[in-house]
């Protein structure tokens, strides 16, 4: 037997032992095992998810062989759930795989409590009415839910999670936590012990830029009544001073100092995102609060007390030109401060736990450490219920994007993906599903679209004829490549929701949510890609890009 660690090496390098363990503890339920569902699970089984339960009531037909790799000739006429499950088990014997031959829609209606045994449900190819029902069931049972659907050359993935608290958000670009704009006494003392004007040229070019900047900022502040450079001219002047400190042109450390000088100018204190989180009503904790919010409460206390307006220090520093000795000493100073901050937070966590009647040691040291290290990057996402999205649509946005040059196709498919379910509820088949009724289906779908837009309150808006025709041409087909694309995204979302989220506590009574006012960020996402060479995906997190912001407003709107 190969060591599982070796087998998972390439993914452990991304999500580490903690992520792997979250994956291995998860039990996942799949609804419908067409290619979209099968491909989603395949990616998770390979990664070593704990257990899977495949639910599908259909038998394998000849047509399934053309779009689903998990079934072959020998499967025709047999339970699809069984065949897919058998194949998936072959991929990884560490995964517990089982199947239930039953139609998901029936299960949703007859046995809602069935779903509460799972960590997460992946619901594929479900029509709207079942989605709405399942969404409520999972929300109440606090089971994570991800919808995925492939439809011709389009489709969507949609997360539905009451709250997704992210500790290790691992953003791509995030400023390192050097505190150059607000150094603590030990760092200042260390900088003071070093002479920038050292005569030895080797020592001069190996003084780390952190030291250079702390000293220069200190000097500046002394000369400017305690203030740091803030105007454009002052910043320029500060950089000139840095340049003047160079004794040779090849001094990389001074070049790095000039490049990093903006870190001295950066405003002190915490970001507005973090401010929003610590002021969320959930940070007023009680015995029902999750570990995450208990730690947020401790963080809040820290920031106003010991932190002096700052979050706990992250503790790591980037590589920089330096002598080994100075670099290692600098590392130790940052690490010591981070450790001290952690101990304070840990103490605060313990007393909060005690106060709310929980075991003071019930949140592990590792967890608190990770929380402290990532405190500046915390994210909280809350998702609207699908029902809310349907009953309370954001009319101005829908109208705006239906006519937007770049997004009209994506918005059009959003409307059409809903319209086909209305169509199917009326006519017992999807538009274009069978040959010979194309013209009639096109006009029926057009009627369904107009009806839907009217119900949404978007009177006068339309979806283009071309898109309506295209949707009928798709005829509810589930193409393998599209299913693999959508399934791939769905499995990535599963991993993100599982591993970046904090383990949920035994207390699962989240009640009293009262709509938009309290919500920090309410996001879901729809993937919509058409055949027109267009791939537009909207995002769940990541507010920096206007276009992304725009996109996730498409289907799920509550303003922050």
């Amino acid at each position: 037997m190969a060591e599982p660690k070796t087998k998972y090496d390439r993914q452990l390098r991304i999500w580490g032992e903690q992520g792997q363990s979250a994956l291995e503890k998860a039990s996942i339920c799949l609804l419908n095992c067409g290619p979209t569902g099968s491909e989603t699970l395949k990616n998770l089984v390979l990664g070593g998810v704990g257990s899977i339960t495949v639910i599908d009531g259909s038998k394998v037909e000849l047509g399934d062989l053309g779009n689903n790799f998990m079934v072959d000739e020998s499967c025709v006429g047999q339970s699809k759930a069984k065949c897919v499950c058998t194949f998936l088990q072959e991929l990884n014997d560490a995964v517990k795989a089982k199947f239930i031959e039953e139609y998901p829609e029936a299960l949703v209606d007859s046995n809602p409590s069935f779903f509460s045994q799972f960590t997460l449900v992946v619901a594929t190819q479900l029509a709207e009415d079942s989605m709405v029902k399942l969404d409520k069931i999972c929300r109440e049972a606090n089971v994570l839910l991800i919808f995925a659907r492939s439809y011709g050359l389009t489709g969507f993935v949609r997360n539905s999670v009451k709250e997704h608290a992210v500790i290790e958000s691992k953003p791509d670009h995030f400023l390192d936590d050097l505190r150059l704009n607000n150094p603590w006494p030990e760092l200042k003392r260390f900088a003071e012990s070093i002479d920038l004007k050292v005569a030895d040229p080797v020592a001069h070019k190996h003084t780390p830029y952190v030291v250079i900047l702390v000293k220069m900022a200190e000097e500046w502040a002394k000369a400017h009544g305690g203030a740091l450079p803030s105007t454009r001219d002052e910043k320029k002047e500060f950089k000139e001073l840095l340049k003047a400190g160079m004794v040779a042109i090849d001094e990389d450390n001074y070049r790095e100092a000039i490049e990093a000088s903006f870190k001295v100018f950066a405003p002190r204190g915490i970001s507005s995102d973090l401010l929003q989180i610590i002021h969320d009503s959930c940070s007023e904790v009680d015995s029902n609060s999750s570990d995450f919010w208990v730690m947020v409460a401790a963080l809040k206390e820290f920031i106003v007390n010991e932190g002096g307006g700052e979050a706990p220090l992250e503790g790591s520093i980037p590589d920089m030109t330096s002598s080994t000795e100075l670099y290692v000493n600098l590392q130790k100073i940052y690490l010591a401060k981070a450790e001290a901050d952690f101990l304070v937070i840990q103490q605060r966590v313990k007393s909060i736990l005690k106060r709310i009647g929980r075991d003071p040691d019930s949140i592990s040291k590792t967890m608190i450490k990770s929380f402290c290290k990532n405190a500046r990057k915390l994210k909280v996402c809350r998702y609207r219920l699908i029902e809310d999205e349907f009953s309370n649509p954001a009319v101005p946005e829908v109208q705006k994007y239906l006519t937007d040059e770049e997004y009209s196709v994506a918005m059009g498919f959003y409307i059409l993906l809903r319209a086909v379910d209305r169509f199917s509820a009326n006519y017992n088949s999807f538009p274009g599903q069978f040959e010979g009724e194309m013209d009639e289906d096109i006009s029926r779908l057009k009627t369904a679209v107009v009806g839907l837009l009217n119900d949404l309150g978007c009177n006068g808006s339309t979806v283009t004829e071309d898109l309506i025709n295209e949707m009928c041409r798709f005829g509810a087909s589930e193409l393998h490549a599209v299913a693999a694309f959508i399934g791939g995204i769905a499995s990535q979302e599963v991993i993100k929701v599982l591993y970046i989220s904090i383990p949920r506590t035994q207390c699962q009574h989240f009640t009293g949510y009262d709509g938009a006012v309290d919500l920090l960020q309410v996001k879901s996402f729809i993937t919509s890609f058409s055949g027109s060479g267009l791939y537009i995906v909207e995002s769940r997190v990541g507010m920096q890009m206007q276009r992304v912001l725009v996109m996730f407003k498409l289907c799920d709107i509550i303003d922050v």
Binding site: D9, N43, D72, G488, I489, G533, R540, V548
Partner: protein, 449 residues
């Protein structure tokens, strides 16, 4: 519903896309049974790489209406592949990837024929690549992409107005992933940028200055690279370091630990040592699935016209939320690889040997050890020895005569070029014009003007 099962076929879902007319399709799209059958019968696809992307690509293409596939990969299956390369099992470890992947897909998708090639991409004759309708790349190295790109662009011919001749265009679809990120792109040599036009998209590899490694190490990676690049050679004179030999890796790890202790540096682990030395790119199943699916869709759109193709570069980032962005890059008109070729003027008396020497001096090329091909003929081959011997006598002959006394033509040259002190094999397209024969060219230009 009973009716529907009777008329069902294996291509139930794909038929909707291929047999029905549409409004949002490519201008070339001709829906119908003929199109479906032609895709099955005539479209021949080459998948390069049978790893994380390759396994997915073979499955996706086999289930997207293609029946004639070939796959080329030089690697054998390793345990670390199993978290994503779903066609392989533990008992396959050590077997050639291309062969196992081809066999598994053929077992499950009947009617599909996949020919595996267990070899390096450079081992194949250039003409091998000419036979395919589309080349799909599932690679993890810049060098391999560069090579295939040059081969495919080498087939491209231009008319006298420097417009690409359609029948010589060899389309490529390229995918790549790293962690939660990836890209998919469509390359139509001559009209969209080729790999070399946008080579800047690949950031240069991080390399530590040797003096940092030797004198002022600060990070765990510095200690590891010291053991790997400096200490190894000091201790094992002449013995090459083999990253796949666990004994070698352990030695580097032990030395790195010693050095880290000496300097008080934290963080050297065996896993990090492997990562740094082998430049391991983290890889997960889901991203490979997404990117391969996008590549397959583009391949299907290119081959059938059933929808408009991606124009021309898609980036995927699932790390923070989900971002997909499509960028339309533009060609580099002077691209050495996909452009009309480096123009070289020669006297009709220049011998092949003289020509090969000139290439070494040519400022744009700096190409040594050149092998030269003209159309289907090897004018001179450096290797293998048999071919070298056979073509050696050409060296003394004038190139003009060897090329059939045409006034202007393309030759393909392979050889090595040095970039940043590192020798890499390369393939270049040269447009040779013979002096004194330019009357014809002048006429061409006159017509063009």
């Amino acid at each position: 519903m009973a009716d529907s099962t009777v008329q069902q076929s294996r291509s139930r879902d794909l038929d909707k896309l291929l047999l029905r007319p549409g409004n949002l399709v490519a201008p070339t799209f001709e829906s119908g049974v003929q199109l479906r059958d032609d895709l099955q019968e005539y479209a021949r696809l080459l998948v390069i790489g049978a790893g994380g992307l390759g396994c997915e690509l073979l499955k996706d293409l086999a289930l997207s209406g293609f029946k004639n596939l070939e796959v080329i990969d030089m690697d054998r299956i390793e345990v670390t592949n199993l978290n994503r390369q779903f066609l392989f099992r533990l008992e396959d470890v050590g077997k050639p990837k291309a062969e196992v992947a081809a066999k598994r897909v053929m077992e499950r998708v009947s009617g599909v024929n996949i020919v595996p090639h267990f070899c390096r991409i450079e081992d194949k004759e250039i003409d091998f690549y000419k036979d395919f309708s589309i080349i799909v790349l599932g690679l993890d190295s810049v060098e391999a992409r560069s090579y295939i790109n040059a081969v495919a662009c080498g087939f491209l011919e231009y008319d006298s107005d420097d417009n690409p001749l359609e029948e010589t265009v060899k389309p490529m679809v390229d995918g790549g992933t790293e962690g939660f990120k990836g890209h998919a792109r469509v390359i139509m040599p001559g009209s969209t940028p080729c790999f070399e036009c946008t080579i800047w998209l690949f950031p240069p590899q991080v390399k530590f200055p040797l003096c940092t490694l030797a004198e002022t190490p600060r990070t765990a990676a510095h200690c590891i690279e010291y053991a790997h690049l400096i200490k190894w050679d000091e201790v094992h004179s002449g013995k090459t370091f083999d990253p796949d030999d666990p004994e070698h890796m352990k030695w580097v790890y032990t030395e790195a630990v010693k050095r880290a202790e000496l300097f008080g540096i934290q963080g050297v682990t065996y896993s990090l040592t492997q990562g740094v030395v082998k430049n391991i790119i983290p890889a997960i199943a889901s991203t490979n699935a997404i990117i391969s699916a996008a590549c397959t869709l583009e391949t299907l759109k290119l081959a059938s016209g059933c929808s408009k193709t991606l124009s021309n570069y898609l980036t995927y980032n699932g790390m923070e939320g989900l971002h997909i962005k499509v960028t339309e890059f533009v060609r580099d008109k002077d691209c050495l690889v996909c452009g009309p070729g480096v123009l070289i003027e020669l006297d009709t008396s220049v011998t092949l040997q003289k020509f090969i020497d000139m290439l070494e001096e040519h400022p744009k090329l700096l190409l040594s050890k050149a092998s030269v091909r003209h159309q289907t003929m090897n004018l001179y081959m450096q290797a293998p020895p048999v071919l070298e011997e056979m073509t050696r006598s050409n060296l003394g002959l004038p190139l003009f005569e060897l090329m059939g006394k045409v006034s202007k033509d393309i030759v393909l040259v392979t050889g090595t070029t040095s970039k940043d002190d590192k020798k890499t094999s390369c393939l270049r397209k040269l447009c040779l014009v013979f002096k004194g024969q330019d009357a014809i060219i002048d006429m061409d230009m006159a017509v063009g003007a």
